[in-house]
């Protein structure tokens, strides 16, 4: 059986950062991602990132991914990478992980430590005909247009005015696609105000207190009906039919946590972090002594903080494996914790701070 010191599940911003950090202290790392390319959602982001210089603020997401790939390359003697390889199970009895490369090559890995950086999956909301092709997750639309250069459609209704809905609307316009409107059930946009201002000044209406009532079409989306709702989310009777061929759902993400459940990690349902998340200590270790968590899998947040969390988890792992000088590791940890606190310091970070307080433990040591 294949053996490794550190298995990192997921090659997005958190997983890449964890792998790089762990390898920088000499640990042997295996990095697996189910997608065809590494980088997770980062490679689809054409907008410039927020944060400070440490988070490469002002640099576009896909460029940050390129920088991470460069770091990965520099550590390649310590990092073995698998793409198109899905981790399908964790066996509690012996700590063995099962994987499928492509659709048919099945194999096992036995790692000493695991970082679960499995990311998130798109939520869907119920409405008639939501099954129709043309109702796509926002991440999928980004993949089509920003990774593969495929025109997703002609006219788009965006559902949700969080950061993803706002950013993807802007990206659709960059790809030459018409965004007919954005509906948001709340009475306020959920994403950064500046992202909303960007799309509004290019003529995209944002309908607050509106939701999608139904998709129209037989084999695929040929239109949508949106409706106004009141503060109790009940329809007011005001409706509008929109001529669209894509209904893009940006109604939130939920952490991908199946492997954490399988491993028996203590889990908490934390609405602020958008679902079930593993309880963790300050350095992202779960209740399972060999498993760490980082990024959206630990609670839905931003790529900037996912990268820092990944670094922290990577350090936690090398510390447990006995690599590196304790003072150096401690110094780096302190710096990363400061960065995280900065990123979460604002108004938008308040929810995250609350959520993390609900699933954090001081220490797993008895």
């Amino acid at each position: 059986m294949r053996e490794t010191e550190v298995l990192v599940v997921g090659g997005g911003p958190a997983g890449l950062s964890a792998a790089i950090e762990a390898a920088s202290f000499g640990a042997k790392v295996t990095l697996m991602d189910s997608d065809l390319a590494l980088g997770g959602q980062l490679i689809k982001q054409t907008h410039k990132f927020f944060g400070s210089k440490n988070e490469r603020a002002g640099t576009r997401g896909f460029k940050i991914a390129e920088e991470l790939f460069k770091e990965l390359k520099e550590r390649e003697e310590n990092i073995e990478t698998f793409t198109n390889c899905t981790v399908t199970g964790y066996y509690k009895e012996d700590g063995v992980v099962s994987c499928v490369k492509g659709e048919d090559e099945y194999f096992h890995v036995k790692p000493k430590k695991i970082v679960m950086a499995t990311g998130a999956q798109e939520r869907i909301i119920p409405f008639p005909n939501n099954h129709l092709p043309g109702v796509y997750g926002a991440g999928a639309v980004q993949t089509l247009m920003n990774v593969y250069g495929v025109v997703p459609g002609e006219r788009v209704l965006m559902v949700g005015a969080g950061n993803i809905g706002l950013i993807v609307s802007y990206q659709l316009m960059q790809a030459g696609v018409k965004v007919v409107g954005i509906v948001e059930a709340m009475n306020k946009i959920g994403g950064y105000w500046v992202h909303a201002a960007k799309v509004r000044r290019l003529g995209v209406p944002i309908y607050l207190r509106h939701t999608v009532k139904e998709a129209i079409g037989d084999r695929f989306v040929e239109g949508a009906v949106i409706q106004e709702i009141d503060e109790k989310f009940q329809p007011t009777g005001n409706e509008k039919k929109l001529d669209v061929d894509i209904i893009c759902l940006a109604v939130g993400l939920t952490p991908t946590c199946e492997l954490l459940w399988q491993a028996g990690c203590k889990m908490s349902f934390v609405p602020q972090l958008c679902g079930y998340v593993a309880q963790r200590d300050k350095n992202m270790r779960t209740s399972h002594p060999d498993i760490w968590v980082a990024g959206d899998a630990a609670g839905i947040e931003e790529a900037s903080s996912a990268m820092v969390e990944g670094r922290i988890a990577g350090l936690g792992v090398v510390k447990a494996l006995g690599y590196g000088a304790p003072e150096e590791i401690q110094g780096r940890l302190e710096e990363y914790h400061m960065r995280l606190a900065d990123l979460r310091g604002g108004e938008v970070g308040a929810k995250i701070r609350e959520g993390i307080a609900l699933c954090s433990v001081e220490s797993w040591e008895v």
Binding site: H47, K48, F49, F50, G51, S52, K53, A57, G58, T59, R60, K63, A161, M173, Q174, G176, E184, N187, K188, I189, Y192, W193, V194, H195, A196, A197, K198, V199, R200, R201, L202, G203, V204, I206, L208, S304, D342, L343, R344, G345, G346, E347, V348, G349
Partner: protein, 168 residues
């Protein structure tokens, strides 16, 4: 909730707010090359406007979530922040530009088609409605990262309305 607050909640700036204030009138009217107008009315973790400012006009942030504060005396209208800001929330407006009834706005542009110098474009307000025609005077790419800074001559009475262009 009043109409103004509703609009603000959907991404339209209404009036002045912390992080979105006009430069002082007298200095603005006489400052060659213009002054920065930042529209960043929400506390978010972001500071490239400060770190990229070559003259220190965007004051240091105590907390990265602070909204930018500007020392207008130091602002040279160089538009580096316009090119860098991830929120595309920085604009430079030069009231000394051209004829009496004209002004110059320097804004970020990341769409297609790319305008050309001398071209007449639609100038859009915060709702994306065309409110005037404007002439593109100059196009730069300060960070060499494909964010263009487009200098457009616009009617002076619309400097607090026009915030985007559409190339037609």
């Amino acid at each position: 909730m009043d109409e103004k607050e509703k609009l603000f909640n959907s991404g339209i700036l209404t009036g002045e707010r912390k992080g979105a204030i006009k430069p002082p009138k007298e200095l603005w009217e006489t400052k060659k090359n213009g002054l920065v107008v930042i529209e960043c009315p929400q506390r978010i973790p972001c500071n490239p406007c400060h770190t990229s400012c070559p003259t220190g006009a965007v004051k240091p942030f105590e907390d990265i979530n602070d909204q930018p504060q500007i020392d207008y005396e130091k602002c040279t209208g160089c538009a580096r922040c316009v090119a860098v800001c991830p929120g595309l929330a920085c604009f430079v407006i030069d009231l000394t530009w051209g004829a009496e009834d004209k002004a110059l706005i320097k804004l970020a542009y990341e769409m297609l088609p790319t305008p050309e110098e001398g071209q007449v474009v639609d100038c859009l307000n915060r709702f994306g409605e065309p409110v005037a025609k404007g002439k593109v005077v100059k196009i730069t790419e300060p960070m060499k990262d494909k964010t263009l800074v487009v200098h457009v001559e616009i009617p002076k009475d619309l400097v607090m309305d026009i915030r985007a262009i559409r190339v037609v």
